[in-house]
């Protein structure tokens, strides 16, 4: 029986396998958006080399915008995918945590003075402190989820509620501004390199996670824990630790995203910075075809999902949709995407296809 099935699969399978691939839907969405823009206005894809106010060469264009602005989202999608896979839930506190990380960076750089002439500490130190803080908050979420068995969304609701307040409290509700141009490199351009720095940071993160997934068992362990916690425990795994680890990794992603965010404006607005980014990050994971209930995951699909969201955002901006109305359009696209990828809908089309095939065979 097994043999017969294999034969059947390989003959009609390649097309089907392509559709079944997790990356299919996000890539198809990306292509669709690209084609739409190509038809509507081919200049969308134009990339121009210009010079910024400091006289350094910079690339600009919508595509560059997408890659640039999508960086934080892609970085967060990495951590969110792991958290989703291991815990079967989502972290809704990443926006608030970015506010905290950003606030910590500014606090260390300014050393209590809101308008410092010079940096009070090296940027790397500030970043490392932010990493530690963000990972600690990640661990806090992780411990609530893993050891107290609170649902991820609910557990992270705590930090979601408190995060921006904590961020304001760290800087005593002042809004520090960094005047040192070096700090702006992380969210802007390094002199002489025309490609935005966030792109490099995002690519570096992707490479790191790619290597980690290759040389460690992170994938197998998180999936096993996400699918069957009790069974993975009897196979010698420590499910609690793995869940906490996923949240800590997300914390690290948050710190990196926080650095980019505050560097972009060289300052911070506690109630606005990274607002609703958690929703976009979760969407990225979902658009990547990953089950939000945990288990198997595809990191590549999540990252592509993040860029789909950014592509959509930029496209809408280009067509003059005001920023505040943007979510409405986004929602419509998201709904269409999830309906197309919903298992019940897919099944329905599968049976339709089968019936059509049968008819053809009869004819």
């Amino acid at each position: 029986m097994a043999n017969g099935e294999n034969v059947k699969k390989s003959s009609s399978g390649s097309w089907k396998n392509l559709i079944r691939n997790q990356c299919f839907i996000p890539i198809a969405a990306l292509l669709l958006l690209a084609v739409f823009n190509l038809i509507a206005d081919p200049s969308f894809f134009k990339i121009t080399l210009g010079y910024n106010s400091a006289g350094d060469p910079v690339l600009s264009g919508f595509i560059i915008n997408i890659i640039n602005n999508g960086s934080e989202l892609a970085i967060l999608a990495i951590g969110m995918t792991l958290v989703t896979a291991a815990s079967g839930g989502q972290d809704i506190s990443v926006g608030a945590a970015i506010a905290i990380a950003g606030s910590v960076i500014l606090r260390v750089l300014c050393g209590g003075n809101a308008r410092p002439e010079t940096l009070q500490a090296p940027i790397i130190v500030a970043f490392l402190v932010a990493c530690v803080v963000a990972m600690l908050f990640g661990a806090f979420n992780g411990v609530l989820v893993a050891y107290f068995k609170i649902q991820p969304m609910i557990a992270t609701l705590i930090l979601y509620t408190a995060g921006r307040s904590i961020a304001a409290w760290i800087n005593n509700n002042e809004l520090p501004v960094i005047s040192d141009p070096k700090f702006a490199y992380f969210g802007g351009f390094i002199p002489g390199i025309p490609i935005p720095t966030p792109c490099f940071i995002a690519i570096a993160c992707m490479i790191v996670i790619g290597i980690v997934l290759k040389v460690t068992n992170l994938r197998l362990y998180t999936q096993a824990v996400g699918i069957n916690q009790s069974s993975s425990k009897l196979n010698g795994l420590n499910p609690e630790l793995i869940k906490v680890m996923a949240f800590v990794i997300l914390g690290l992603c948050v710190a990196v995203a926080g650095l980019i965010k505050v560097s972009r404006v060289s300052s911070i607005n506690y109630s606005v910075i990274a607002k609703d980014i958690e929703m976009d990050a979760i969407l990225a994971v979902a658009l990547g075809g990953n089950a939000l209930s945990g288990g198997k995951f595809s990191m590549a699909a999540s990252i592509i999902g993040a860029f789909v969201i950014q592509f959509l955002t930029t496209t809408l901006y280009k067509f003059g949709v005001p920023a505040t109305a943007l979510p409405a359009y986004k929602a419509v696209v998201v709904i269409l995407l999830v309906i197309v990828s919903a298992p019940t809908v897919r099944e329905y089309f599968d049976t339709m296809m089968k019936k059509m095939k049968l008819k053809k065979e009869v004819a």
Binding site: V215, T216, N217, Q223, A224, S230, L234, G236
Partner: protein, 504 residues
């Protein structure tokens, strides 16, 4: 339809992706009979029942019910209930967060208003008459599994049904409860209810059933009067081949001789865990097969779980080959060469969505460490090897394990532990809920492994299986080890007596 027939299924077809689960199956149920539906795992019994109860749709075929002209359409369990078909499933299908009374009545009474008083009173009356130790207003989740199963049965019985389906209802019940259930079934039979009974226990079939329908590989093998089908024939019909008497597999293999002064592979002294067992002593030699026996809930599983570190160990000493070791968690045990195949395959064994390959390598991979993953080629090689060795029936090694049949899932778990090359293998109910063919395979494998020098602890609810494989039995009663039997004491009578309490 003829007068005495209550249910007729004709030419039922059901296709799952890649599998023809049912191929033209016929089934007839008469009024006032207990009809056993038999077959190996994957034979299609559960599928047939789920088609009948509207959980699955069917590709082709017709279902006729007494009192209805023409074929009936059953689209949901609700439809089935309304037509007088009530079902008790193998897994408990009640809501743990509701009260016992609600579970008895939800989904089957008309009207919009919930009358708690009447419902509770009715429930208490029914439960009392069936001697189920539960209160109507109690939350279901606070009852033991066996009591929950009895409540599910009480619900089904109370529904004034024409057809009662019992899909392996006895696996979590003890002997007395099974007796109660059988009495109930006989009473219902006398009232003219048609009962479909699915079970893996052959004794139970011969104790209560009138007629047997046998299925194999999604097809009907035949329908028989119970008197005309002796056990051996039933088994051979289920397996599709003539089998010799199953009991002489032990003589096929030679036993391993560890030598006289060998140190035990594992020695435990006063071991106790937080799962509520009394401290126990235990030892096992190289190449020995021993077993824990006792009634369900006597603490058999808890003992081996304590050895493996699956429950939190709260006291006692463990020595392996004479050296003190500390086993606080499963990983410690695995590092010391212990493997444990858990009792509940679905909850503790398989990692459902992962492929057969990943399921096989999982334990060894964990042992190897976080930073040393198997390469894809290595993993594939290992998977192929064990699929062949244990004759695992799977479409490919990439197939998610959850789509395999129960017996094959169990073999994958077994492969997982064999791949860790353990010195000491613990098998907790490896044959529960799997087909007779695989059962024999596993028993043979146990003896073969032992002959090669592996120590094995074997736990099974079926005493003959234990007697066939084990050379020493530790008898448990009330969470305490009460005796140890070897040699000539290894016979049904003595074991039963020890379990029951010696002097009886």
């Amino acid at each position: 339809m003829e007068d005495n027939i209550v249910l007729k299924m004709r030419n039922i077809h059901k296709i799952f992706p890649g599998v023809r689960a049912l191929q033209g199956v016929d089934f007839t149920l008469r009024k006032g009979e207990i009809h056993a539906l038999m077959g190996e795992n994957g034979a299609g019994k559960s599928t047939l029942i789920k088609v009948l109860t509207g959980v699955y749709g069917k590709e082709d075929g017709e279902i006729f019910l007494d009192g209805t002209e023409g074929p009936v359409a059953i689209h949901s369990p609700q439809d089935a209930q309304n037509m007088g078909i009530s079902t008790v499933y193998q897994e408990i299908t009640l809501c743990p967060n509701l009260t016992v009374a609600e579970n008895m009545f939800i989904g089957r009474t008309k009207g919009t208003v919930q009358n708690w008083k009447k419902m509770n009173a009715d429930t208490d009356r029914i439960l009392q008459s069936l001697e189920v130790p539960a209160k109507a207003a109690q939350q279901l989740g606070t009852c033991s599994l066996a009591v929950q199963q009895m409540i599910a049965i009480a619900r089904a019985v109370d529904m004034e049904c024409k057809v009662l389906i019992l899909d392996e209802p006895t696996s979590s019940l003890d002997e007395q409860e099974v007796e109660k259930l059988f009495k109930l079934m006989r009473d219902l039979r006398a009232k003219g209810v048609g009962i479909i009974f699915v079970t893996h226990f052959l004794e139970q079939v011969y104790e209560v059933c009138d007629r047997i329908t046998v299925m194999r590989d999604g097809k009907l093998v035949g329908e028989y009067e119970i008197e005309n089908l002796p056990r051996v024939q039933l088994v051979s019909k289920m397996l599709g081949k003539e089998v010799d008497d199953l009991s002489d597999i032990k003589s096929e293999v030679k036993t391993f001789d560890a030598g006289k002064d060998a140190v035990p592979v594992l020695e435990a002294e006063g071991l106790v865990s937080n799962a509520g067992i009394k401290p126990f002593d235990f030892h096992i030699n190289k190449g020995e097969v021993n077993g824990f026996t006792g009634l369900l809930g006597s603490g058999r599983s808890e003992c081996v779980r304590a050895i493996f570190g699956a429950d939190r160990v709260t006291g006692g000493k463990v020595k392996m080959k004479g050296k003190d070791v500390k086993i606080a968690k499963p990983l410690d045990a695995m590092k010391n060469g212990i493997a444990y195949l858990p009792e509940d395959r679905k909850v503790d064994g398989i990692v459902g969505d992962l492929s057969v390959r990943d399921n096989i390598i999982l334990a060894q991979q964990v042992l190897k460490g976080f930073f040393k993953p198997f390469s894809k080629a290595e993993a594939n090689k290992v998977a192929d090897e064990y699929i062949k060795l244990l004759n695992i029936k799977t479409a490919s090694k990439d197939t998610p394990i959850k789509s395999l049949s129960g017996g094959n899932q169990q073999k994958v778990i077994l492969a997982r532990w064999l791949f860790t090359h353990p010195e000491y293998l613990i098998l907790d109910e490896p044959t529960r809920g799997i087909d007779v063919g695989t059962k024999v395979d596993i028993q043979k494998l146990v003896l073969k492994l032992a002959s090669e020098g592996m120590s094995v602890t074997f736990i099974s609810s079926e005493l003959d299986e234990m007697l066939r494989t084990c050379s020493r039995l530790i008898v448990m009663r009330d969470r305490k080890a009460v005796g140890e039997l070897t040699g000539d004491d290894l016979n049904q009578g003595t074991v039963m007596n020890t379990i029951a309490g010696g002097d009886k």
